[in-house]
Amino acid sequence: METDEFIKAIAFNVVQGRVEAEDEGFDDGLEGQPGVTELVNEALENGVEPKEIVIEALTKSMEEVGEKFERNEYLIPDMLASAECVGVAMDILSPHLIKAGVKSKGKFVIATVAGDLHDIGKNIVAIMLKGAGYQVIDLGTDVSVDIIISAVKENEAPFIGLSALLTTTMRVMGEVVNKLEQEGLRDSVTVLIGGAPTSAAFAQEIGADAHCKDGFDAIDVLKTMAA
């Protein structure tokens, strides 16, 4: 296979959500054909640039998945299957990217705030950001304001993503923003928030930079901010 064909095949299988050859895809009858794992390994052996795989195959195909999700053509399991493919591909590619000196888009500290144990949405967003080229530092769930702040300092992270799924815990997001201000860090950090009870109005109320309705939205927002 030529580089182009590898890229196309990887992208196709990310959209189909097939990690390995044995996996079923979104469409019928793909079992047995090579999946993302086989294709990425084979592409590397054939000298395809890891960076090209990330940009041309993974990022673009996840954008396509995002559009399909937006149109309700794809549902949560479809999206997760694709995100899993990107995660697996990134695990294979990471050592090669580091060797090639490819820089990440920046460190992104992500956490579900104190008192809140919901992790599903936060995990999906973390996987997608990883796939989009960010270095994700996942602090887990029920994370105190202090731990978030010290992780930001320690990593000099320019981005924070906060998740809350409860009306009682979403207030903690505001405390994080206040603490950043007190510490003189507010201007050097972009704060994104998400989770079912949150909204753009709420983001504005607590002084966060943006509300993201899902992982795709987060990537879009970051892209717009970078532009």
Binding site: L75, I76, P77, L80, H118, T168, A196
Partner: protein, 264 residues
């Protein structure tokens, strides 16, 4: 089956408006419709996500007083905040209530379990502790253990404890349904006398034809020994599933309930 009717929940846009406008008529209407559809308890959750704790306490008092003026059905006082729970229980003035809910975290147990004792009310306890959403059956049992010891300490009989075994969406992990079902059976075996509860509809989150999945899951949970279902009793499919499942596992003497539903 104990039916905990879930429609009065402040996170639903329609209910949020009712609470904000203090719309007595529509609140009562929601309560009465659910009673007519077979609710054993009407859940009352007034958390709208805006306003302070004080606002939520006032909203809870208003909702409880409004409903109990015309409806005799017991209420299920629902909040993550113990102060809101207490305001609801107080407003009940000794009428039957169910507390929804405590978590197996120290702070929650210290504050909510005593309410079950003071108000002699049964209590829903979520089988999750400081370590987060349980991933396995064992995680749930360990959390249940903590609840049981708190209940012993505060003199709440095990018969008054409903363990919520936590339903997770299968759309994000397809093995989760089975874990919840296994936990129902296990918790009842380990803590004889305890009851079990599930918020069924979470199982189908993110999938098409949710009603069908909810109904099938409820049937399986009944077989596993479920005592209480947190559902929308106005949803025909799920209410039918309750009656169908109960008659099939022999929990409907002479098929009375099933046949009565059929005659309607």
């Amino acid at each position: 089956m104990i039916i905990i009717a879930e429609k009065i929940n402040g996170t639903l846009p329609m209910v949020k408006t009712i609470i904000q406008n203090r719309d007595q008529e529509r609140l009562l209407d929601l309560a009465k419709q659910q009673v007519a559809a077979g609710a054993s308890y009407i859940d009352v959750n007034v958390g709208t996500g805006i306003g302070s704790r004080e606002d939520e306490i006032q909203a809870m008092e208003w909702a409880v007083e409004t409903i109990q003026k015309e409806v005799e059905t017991p209420l299920c006082i629902d909040s993550a905040d113990p102060a809101v729970l207490e305001s609801g229980l107080k407003s009940r003035n000794g009428r039957a209530s169910l507390i929804n809910s405590a978590k197996a975290e120290q702070e929650s147990l210290e504050k909510v379990v005593p309410l079950a004792s003071t108000y002699s009310a049964p209590l829903i306890a979520l089988t999750m502790d400081e370590s987060g959403i349980p991933k396995t059956v064992d995680d749930r049992l360990q959390a249940a253990e903590k609840v049981v010891s708190a209940c012993e300490r505060f003199d709440v009989p095990i018969e008054n404890v409903f363990f919520d075994l936590l339903v997770m969406p299968i759309s994000t992990d397809v093995k989760q349904g089975l874990k919840t079902l296994a936990a129902i059976t296990e918790v009842k075996k380990q803590f004889p006398g305890c009851k079990t509860a599930l918020g069924v509809s979470n199982v189908s989150y993110g999938l098409p034809a949710r009603g069908r999945l909810n109904a099938a899951f409820l049937c399986m949970a009944v077989y596993a020994g479920l005592d209480a279902a947190i559902i929308d009793p106005l949803d025909h499919e799920i209410s039918a599933a309750v009656k169908t499942a109960e008659v099939l596992v022999g929990r409907d003497r002479h098929c009375r309930k099933y046949m009565r539903a059929f005659r309607k």
